[in-house]
Amino acid sequence: MPPALSFDKVTKTYLRSHLGMVTATRGVSELSLEVAEGEVFGLLGLNGNGKTTTMKLALGLLRPTSGSVRVFGREPGSMEALGSVGYLPELPSYYPYLTPRESLAYYARLSGVPKAGLEGRIDEVLRSVGLEKAAKRSAGEFSKGMLQRLGLAQALLHQPKLILLDEPVSGLDPLAIHDVRELLLRINRAGSTLLLSSHSISDVERLCSRVGILVEGKLVRVLSQPDWSAQGGLEKIFVDTVRPAA
């Protein structure tokens, strides 16, 4: 059985041209990683160190400059691969004229969720992210935290096998963070694979079974739960790893 997600020596270089001058920036460099089905894998790294690039490569929104990426053994961006993926981008926004219910119906139908049972599924997801009371308000009136909950709802709606979460607890209050953590663990127990990036080390520590640390686009360390428990916690390892480069 192929892994849920695999990166084989993937390098992504961004080329930007301005006034005839072309500059190259490394997004990720020689990234090799496998995320097994049913795993919760966390990506840690400072801003601009390749976390979002990694996720976009898995979605086919970016193409690798070299190396290969596979999602359940398939080309990222292919209809088969995208059909099994849910994605929460960092700080997403939504059509302000739609209510959460309308937004979710729109995304669900684009994901191929059958119309029969759709309303029930939307109710269930709205309840699970705590938005049931705001279901009839337009997204234009939402706070940052509510938008983040709606983002989670759209990523989970079609019950994808692999969920990519870019900063899933960003903008949430402590109670919501707790609820989201519980929700993600429930989803994982139900069989979904999670790849998440976060600046909240304590959440990553509590959610993930393995963690990768990206420094300047390179995956410099991959740790499993026993590793960070034995070495004084994930925060210490993270700081010791990124400090020389920061």
Partner: protein, 256 residues
């Protein structure tokens, strides 16, 4: 409903609920009122003036609305990341582009229809007798919008900013009304780069003069409307398909 229909319906809803659509309709109402005032100045030709100015205003405003929507829509979807939420689903990029295009076109046609209802009401009030040619003139406006929206979609893909996409579409729209004149100038120009450039321009910019059925209105013995319309329809389909094909060629390789 297929993904195409869903995307089309959402693009239509986005436009119709947007501020720019309301402003277009208000402005359209004002312009139609202006044409009533202009009609008063030409007392013996009042209905003719009302017809011409009214249809021209509808044409220009709808073209402005569809150009603005096409040029800004995609950029806004990228900036707000709503595009990521669509392209991370099993929706082919060609379907996204086509759905968005059809939605924009539908919203512009909705605006045309709303303004036309007001226009016809004013005309009937002023003693105009209904002519089926009016529908042909409106259909011409619709075909022109289809081409303009396709050009705007392509230029949005090529341009580096919303402003340049708007300007380029505006220029091509204006040149499109002078294609026969450009061809004539090309035949008159001396041989060399300028003649070649004029020839290229004459065949690259959309020939929007083909869609003018307004001038037939009020001419009782005008013939060949059906044939001209079929030719205009075929031209519209081929030209729009070429523009959308080009836009898709760029869009499918684009990274986000």
């Amino acid at each position: 409903m297929s993904a195409l229909g869903i995307l089309c319906a959402n693009a239509w809803r986005e436009q119709v609920r947007g501020r720019f659509f309301s402003v277009t309709l208000i402005f359209g109402g004002l312009m139609l009122y202006m044409s009533v005032l202009l009609g008063m100045l030409a007392s013996d030709q009042e209905v003719r003036v009302l017809l011409d100015f009214g249809l021209s205003f509808i044409d220009v405003l709808a073209a402005a609305a569809v150009t603005f929507a096409a040029a800004t829509g995609l950029v806004r979807e990228m900036e707000t990341k709503t595009l990521y939420l669509i392209l991370s689903r099993p929706v082919p990029r060609s379907v996204y582009l086509l759905g968005r295009y059809l939605g924009l076109l539908l919203s512009a046609l909705t605006a045309v229809l709303a303004m036309a209802v007001v226009h016809v009401s004013i005309l009937l009030f002023k003693g105009w007798h209904w002519e089926a040619g009016y529908l042909l003139a409106l259909a011409g406006v619709g075909l022109k919008l289809a081409v303009t929206a396709a050009v705007a979609t392509l230029l949005t893909m090529i341009s580096t900013s919303v402003l340049s996409a708007l300007c380029l579409t505006g220029i091509s729209w204006m040149l499109g009304h002078f294609v026969f004149e450009i061809r004539f100038m090309a035949t008159q120009a001396l041989a060399g780069a300028s003649a070649k450039a004029l020839y290229v321009m004459a065949y690259v910019v959309p020939n929007l003069q083909l869609f003018n059925f307004r001038d037939r209105l009020g001419i009782p013995d005008a013939t060949g409307g059906g044939v001209s319309f079929l030719f205009a329809l075929s031209y519209c389909l081929v030209y729009s398909a070429a523009c959308l094909g080009g836009a898709w060629g760029i869009f499918r390789r684009r990274e986000f």
